[in-house]
């Protein structure tokens, strides 16, 4: 184990660049950064505002040797990208960083104003110098996180977050998830019809997703085939989202970036989490957990796929 900067420098000896974070001068929170030299690496940070999943950049850097500072959940994306043959294992070095649940920076800023000063030390969260309950501002995805064990490690950065078990979320549960689970199908229908009426079709959910590798030729936007119209009516927006969700079956590792990126706060993780659960239930497959795996929708099993219709 090494400290972050040493680890990055070490990885830089064998790679072209390292994807990591540095402190944004205007806000004091972490912002994605690219380190090409050991000098640049001095500016690297890792803290509970490193919310971004930097694996999204890997497919675009295919021809480079890339190091990536990754939270345990980001590391899953790296694994799944390798499984999907979007990234060659030999070209990525994973610097696993410790995580004890990330902060919902966007939520803090929505409440307290953009750039509000965030200090998160020793389990105590202060915003603009005033202590607030940390658990209230934990990113929703972290509430369901089961393990902070990184699945793939080339360099492990020391820290207190990597517990192997679930992260410290101060006992909070995901009440939206629970509420959704308790809804009837009709209530869910109404829920989504309302939620998608807010969608602005900015495709941030897609573009921020490491596993959405179609990139520039995405079906959510094409006219041929004309799966969905271009309007922001909830019907069209929902279809666009159905395309995205369906395409991520067996790929989505549940990193939650889609939901975090959504500027109008559509809780997309409710769908992604459910699909993840089903993929595991049906195929005993957890995307992002096994680098040797074969994606479940790209194969079949005569012996075990024994469902019919219902």
């Amino acid at each position: 184990m090494a400290d972050l900067i040493t680890a990055i420098k070490k990885v830089l000896e064998h790679t072209d660049l390292v994807l990591g974070w540095t402190t944004a001068t205007s806000t004091g929170v972490a912002a994605p950064a690219r380190f090409y030299t050991a000098d640049e690496a001095e500016a690297a940070v890792f803290d509970s505002t490193c919310v971004h999943n930097l694996a999204v950049h890997l497919p675009r850097l295919k021809d480079k040797d890339v190091g990536i500072v990754a939270k345990p959940c980001d590391a899953q994306s790296v694994v799944e990208l390798v499984v999907e043959r979007e990234v060659a294992r030999g070209k990525v070095k994973v610097i696993a960083a410790p995580c004890r649940a990330m902060l919902d920076v966007k939520l803090i800023w929505r409440r307290f104003g953009y750039g509000a000063r965030i200090e998160d030390e020793g389990g105590r969260l202060q915003v603009n110098g005033r202590e607030v309950p940390r658990e209230d501002f934990i990113l929703r995805k972290c509430l369901s996180c089961e393990s902070t064990d990184p699945v793939i490690v080339d360099e492990q950065v020391e820290g207190d977050g990597h517990t192997g078990g679930p992260p410290d979320v101060g006992g909070r549960t995901d009440d939206l998830k629970e509420r959704f689970a308790a809804m009837s199908v009709d209530e869910r229908r109404a829920f989504w019809a309302e939620q998608f009426s807010r969608c602005i079709r900015c495709y941030a959910c897609r573009d921020v997703c490491p596993m959405c590798f179609c990139r520039d030729v995405c079906l959510m936007q094409t006219r041929v085939p004309h799966w969905t119209g271009g309007s922001v009516e909830s019907r069209d927006s929902e279809m666009a989202q159905m395309i995205r969700v369906s395409h991520l079956a067996g790929r989505c590792t549940g990193c939650g970036e889609c939901e975090r990126a959504c500027p109008v706060g559509i809780p997309l993780l409710l769908l992604m989490n459910e699909q993840y659960r089903l993929i595991e239930e049906m195929f005993d497959y957890r995307p992002g957990s096994d680098i040797e795996a074969r994606p479940p929708m790209q194969t079949f099993s005569i012996e075990t796929d024994l469902w019919e219709g219902g």
Partner: protein, 144 residues
């Protein structure tokens, strides 16, 4: 006659032929189902089913060759995974999974096809019309 809309996606080799067989054998069936012919259930994109629900289908039926009998050897094995996942995802989208049924009917199972159609029609009739709950009816809703 009910105004329920039922769509069936049938593989050409087994179920479509089975439906033909039911016809040749003059097996009376309820008339709600409208059949779309495909080469294989492996050609059925689950999105097509979701799209159908969005656009007013009250029930969607997919039928193909029995596992092991696929004209293309493997098509229905992939289809089975895709369709089963969709079926289990439907509740998350707020659609009763009962509205979607997939099954296997071979070219010789005309009688079984007639049963499948009758049962499916009865099931959807019991569920009634599907309301997707989208506001507005225009192609494009206007903000102001």
């Amino acid at each position: 006659m009910s105004d329920l809309k039922l769509i069936g996606f049938l593989c050409n080799w087994c179920s479509y032929a089975g439906a033909d067989m039911a016809g040749t054998s003059r097996m009376k069936q309820p008339s709600g189902l409208r059949i779309i012919r495909l080469p294989c259930t492996g050609r059925v994109n689950p999105l097509l089913i979701q799209k159908a629900f969005q656009e007013g289908a009250d029930g969607v039926l997919v039928s193909g060759c029995h596992p092991g009998d696929c004209h293309y050897n493997e098509g229905n094995y992939y289809a089975r995974r895709r369709l089963e996942l969709l079926k289990r995802m439907l509740p998350a989208w707020g659609i009763d999974p009962q509205r979607f049924h997939y099954t296997w009917v071979s070219a010789s199972e005309g009688a079984r096809w007639a049963e499948v159609v009758a049962e499916f029609q009865a099931r959807i009739e019991a569920l009634g019309k599907l309301e997707m709950g989208y506001p507005g009816g225009d192609v494009v809703s206007q903000v102001s």
